[in-house]
């Protein structure tokens, strides 16, 4: 299908999908997928792609191998990554750290393992259409197309049952049936709140007919979280289709994607997708002859974390200061331009088409009873395989970190994992076997959040980690309410005191007390959760705090004020340390013992790295 024509009805869409299937069956037996998300492009995947394309031409394998540029595959630790997929055997090989010069081998070997190229895995996830029994913790619903289809081709999306759910909904279902399906499926908001999506829709659907809005919250802002970006870059149509379905359910004709302006590729692909969908008659008036009208526009956020909060987000769209306000009224009653509005996050929306296609029952089989479905995590930190993973709810942290993530890098010991981003908490070894969902994480003093998961090892100072996360909320607080505006500042100041050895036991008590008060009094979710990193580390890693306060010691050696470098008797007077010291605070004549001036030392550790005789001790 080379040209796009408006689809008149549901049959036209089915015919097109069937044609695409036939076309694909007679196409090249091998597909090479190249991970071209923002991350992949930044990791220089473009030269790899070009090398592969030119190699196919020179080896004249155009009929055997098809190249597909996809969104992110989630294998961040080894970009550039490619997947070589054999359509007949339904087998894949994922290669990582691919270099352009490896293209000839890869093309020559087709679907056999290419010599000299890093093979990452053969079972990264189980594709939806495959019958093959793949051993993996990953179950992909949200990321079902991300990293597999060409996000810039609506045909690729339609070819994987794209828009089939929308077609079915608008031609055969009533709005309340759609809402009921969502309630039955039990999908909960993946932005962090965990509020049942179907119930939210029902609130808005119950409002009197008239102007209503559907908003896709693509203002992803947690440090280290990029699941929404991956979906928008890898499968934009899935989000558009879901928005149209939710619009049908609540009686809205207009959707808005509120997206960070810092996501240019996602914006570009979304804009293209919207245009394609309009051209195909899948957005716009009288979609597939059903009489249902729905269109979508983009609004750019200016990078304020708090604009992820729905009332702040709505203010921002309206051109006001991005500040949360007290609820009620809830947006479902009085939202954008004071009209009933539902705000759903990208990941939430990415579940919807699959649920509508396969039914609430199917969805409930995945995950836990209270939290059906999957969760995407951005696995980061000291783990071997940093990446984007999607696992069923109820999977243990151990399975994610030590299974999918393959454990801690550099043979260090696991210390903690922070879930829920800056609003979450740190969990330790004892918590690794807890099946995770909204409730279990909350019970452990953390939260699901949007899915950031940062792994820490023994070299991380937990007080410093709490300080780091608080710095983020401090910067991102809108400053509206007292506890968040001033309280978090005071928490941070107290943590600085702890890290610099100037705190006493009373400081620790005040930290806890103020943290509790901030949680109890803040206006929005940001403030209500901002002390979580402090509280959870205070509880779980109290010894580290005590070490800082009582012994003026940072065990991990991170808090520079508490670190001291000394030169021991092994010093031979080679002068290397003195020559490398950036503040010239090391003195000593050649071949004589050297000394560090503690007053001037900035604790950078360069002397220790420079010394060849292990003569510099760090205490």
């Amino acid at each position: 299908m080379s040209t796009i024509t408006p689809l008149k009805d549901r049959d036209a869409l089915s015919t097109w999908a069937a044609d695409l299937k036939t076309e694909r069956a007679s196409g090249a037996p091998v597909v090479i997928r190249v991970s071209m998300g923002t991350c992949g492009i930044a990791a220089k995947t473009t030269p790899v792609l070009e090398a592969l394309q030119s190699e196919i031409r020179s080896q004249q394998k155009e009929s055997q191998i098809e190249i597909v540029q996809t969104g992110c595959m989630g294998l961040c630790h080894s970009e550039p990554t490619i997947e070589v997929y054999d359509r007949q055997t339904q087998q894949s090989i994922f290669y990582g750290n691919v270099k352009p010069e490896q293209a000839p081998t890869l093309i020559r070997e087709e679907s056999s393992q290419a010599f000299g190229v890093d093979v990452l895995t053969q079972n990264w996830y189980r594709p939806e259409e495959t019958d093959a029994d793949v051993e993996t913790a990953q179950a992909r619903i949200v990321l079902r197309n991300t990293g597999r289809i060409d996000p810039e081709s609506i045909a690729d999306y339609v070819g994987t049952q794209g828009y089939a759910a929308l077609a079915n909904v608008v031609t055969t279902m009533q709005p309340d049936e759609v809402t009921q399906t969502m309630i039955d499926a039990g999908l909960r908001g993946r932005g962090g709140g965990g509020f049942p999506t179907g119930v939210k829709w029902q609130f808005a659907a119950k409002q009197p007919a008239g102007e209503k809005y559907v908003i896709c919250n693509a203002d992803e802002g947690d440090p280290g979280a990029f699941m929404d970006r991956a979906v928008l870059e890898g499968d934009p149509h899935a989000v558009l289709e879901a928005m149209a379905i939710s619009g049908f359910a609540i009686g809205a004709a207009q959707g808005v994607v509120y997206i960070r302006a810092e996501y240019p590729l996602a914006i570009e692909r979304l804009e293209l997708a919207i245009q394609q969908a309009r051209d195909c008659g899948l957005l716009g008036t009288n979609i597939l002859g059903s009489g249902f009208d729905f269109d979508i526009e983009l609004k750019y956020g200016a990078g304020a974390f708090v604009c992820g909060e729905e009332t702040a987000l709505i203010h921002s769209i309206e051109g006001l200061r991005g500040e949360p306000i007290f609820k009620p009224p809830f947006p479902a009653v009085e939202g954008l331009w004071e009209k009933p509005t539902i705000v759903n996050n990208v990941e939430t929306l990415a579940n919807i088409c699959a649920i509508m296609r396969r039914g609430a029952k199917w969805f409930r089989q995945i995950g836990t009873e209270k939290c059906p479905g999957t969760k995407v995590f951005a696995l980061a930190g000291k783990v071997k395989r940093v990446g984007l993973v999607e696992v069923p709810m109820g999977t243990t942290l151990r399975d994610i970190i030590f299974g999918v993530g393959q454990g801690i890098a550099n043979d260090r010991a696991f210390k903690a994992v922070q879930t829920g981003g800056p609003s979450g908490g740190c969990l330790k070894t004892e918590d690794l076997d807890t099946p995770i969902d909204y409730e279990s994480l909350r019970a452990l003093g953390s939260m699901m959040g949007s899915g950031g998961m940062i792994v820490m090892d023994e070299d991380d100072c937990m007080v410093n980690i709490a300080k780091y996360f608080l710095e983020f909320t401090l910067d991102e607080s809108c400053g509206r309410c007292t506890p968040c505006r001033i309280g978090n500042k005071r928490l941070h100041e107290m943590l600085v005191k702890v890290c610099s050895g100037r705190a006493d036991m009373r400081t620790l008590e005040k930290l806890r007390q103020l943290s509790d008060t901030i949680k109890d009094t803040s206006l929005c979710g940001l403030g209500q959760t901002s002390p979580n990193p402090v509280l959870s580390t205070l509880r779980q890693f109290r010894r580290e705090y005590l070490d800082h306060v009582m012994n003026h010691k940072c065990t991990a050696g991170v808090c520079s004020a508490l670190v001291r470098y000394d030169i021991n008797e092994r010093c031979v007077g080679c002068t290397l340390c003195a020559r490398n010291c950036p503040v010239s605070c090391i003195t000593g004549a050649p071949k004589e013992h050297h000394e560090i001036d503690q007053e001037r030392c900035i604790k950078c550790g360069v002397c220790q790295q420079a010394c060849k005789f292990h003569a510099v001790d760090k205490h």
Binding site: G479, C481, T482, P483, I486, K510
Partner: protein, 578 residues
Amino acid sequence: MIKLSVNNRDVEVPEGTSILDAAGELGIKVPTLCHFKLDDFDIENKAGSCRVCVVEVEGRPTLAPSCCTPATDGMKVKTNSVRAINARRSMLDLLLSNHPKDCLTCQRNLDCELQRLAGEMGLHQILFEGEQMEHEVDRANQSIVRDPNKCIMCRRCETACNVMQTVGILSAVDRGFDAVVMPTSKRSLDDTKCTFCGQCVQACPTGALTAVNRSYDVWRGLNHPAKFKVVQTAPAVRVALGEAFGMAPGSVSTGKMVAALRKLGFDRVFDTDFAADLTIMEETTELIGRLTSGENLPILTSCCPGWVKFFEHQFPDLINIPSTAKSPQQMFGAIAKTYYAEKAGIAPDNMLVASVMPCLAKKYEAARDEFAPNGIRDVDIVISTRELANMIKEAGIQFMDLDESDFDNPLGESTGAGVIFGATGGVLEAALRTAADWLSDEPIEDVDFTAVRGLSGIREATVTVAGKDVRVAIASGLGNARNLLEKIQKGEAEYEAIEIMACPGGCINGGGQPSIKGDTSILEKRRQALYVIDGDKAIRKSHENPSIQKLYKEFLGQPGSERAHKLLHTHYTERENA
């Protein structure tokens, strides 16, 4: 109706009532700070930002801000649980930790809500001390001092400026700990379309927004050996000044005020009411001229400097419609330094004219370029009602013990029409009294145009003047003024005469008056007091004021004469709407 319990006592309230108001029904007062309500003007600041009014609600995971949480059926509220008290104290503690502790020298000392709360809650120590904000203090204008270091982000000024007045210059800027309320782009107030109405000052619970204090300049002037010191007092001052000395709202303290001003050392105590009568002479002449020709209607009043600056910025297309008559304050200055100076044999540049005004914009007005002919200011210093009260206290004058005194003549003689300038609708009523007389063959007997009186934001009436219907409208509060003007612009309404006052309720609610602390019933009392003074006057029409008649006879000639134009009329300047 909704049934709930507060501190184990049941109460029934209508749906939509806040927990705060429900508790209030039981006589339980929850401390508040950011919450601000002006009942009669339908204005409420429900920012929910200070978190001082938090209460415990059974079954709710977090504490609830009582000012903006609606009461629900079966709700069980505890306002004084340890959890709520601790949280409330912590909020105050945090606010104080980021607040300059210069209470003793702060303009709002003893009149600060933050200070009062700290006292009431018995906060004796600040637990969470830390870094404090450092912002420049904005003193670049004549009316308002903005000290962002004292801003507690209650947003009350924003509601006053943006919602009530629709001037729209204040908003929160920056984020997190740096967040503070400022004019857009952190400009100085002087560089904005601020009207200096001072409603933000009235709304501010702390010393973040205060009036420019000129009392020291007055002291210096009073102690100048050579200067001849003259003071004028605006109509609304006399019905509010007493409040500062514990008198009940609505008390009239004209005589004591005059006596106090004499004691302070003024050589002559005159009345702006006299100039108000003069304004009516000029403005009514203009009105009749326009009514007769049918051109350039409606006429808009121009006594209010806040309103003048508002239309100069925001309605430049209407710049030729307002009356060109100067405000009473400026007319007074002009006459004092010409007619009176000549009569009394005083060189104009040796005369000090001070004004006591209910208004902060009057400070700005007196300093406008056009009001200093030949380099001599018509009005030299403007102080507010509050500043006068403080000066009286500072001088050790026992206000309540003072014997009543009368204004000096001739610039102290006034009519009932002059005094009602202090309330919304008063200027128009005064003009109608004179117009009716001038247009009829015989003087009218009933001077009470009650249809134009009241406190509601916009009032419309058709009044009969000499057998003719005149359609009039009155707006007080700039938000209401905007609504009215937009209606006219859209052609939805037509009037012959319109009175506009920047402050809701008129000058009785000016930015320089003793604070009403959200109790709008005080305004009604002040308003009624003005009409009582009016009713008690033997002469209630401006043109019947003998001193005014004499002024025209001896000096000005006819209303609208060339000399009158030179001294009593002004022009307007289009200003940037940003």
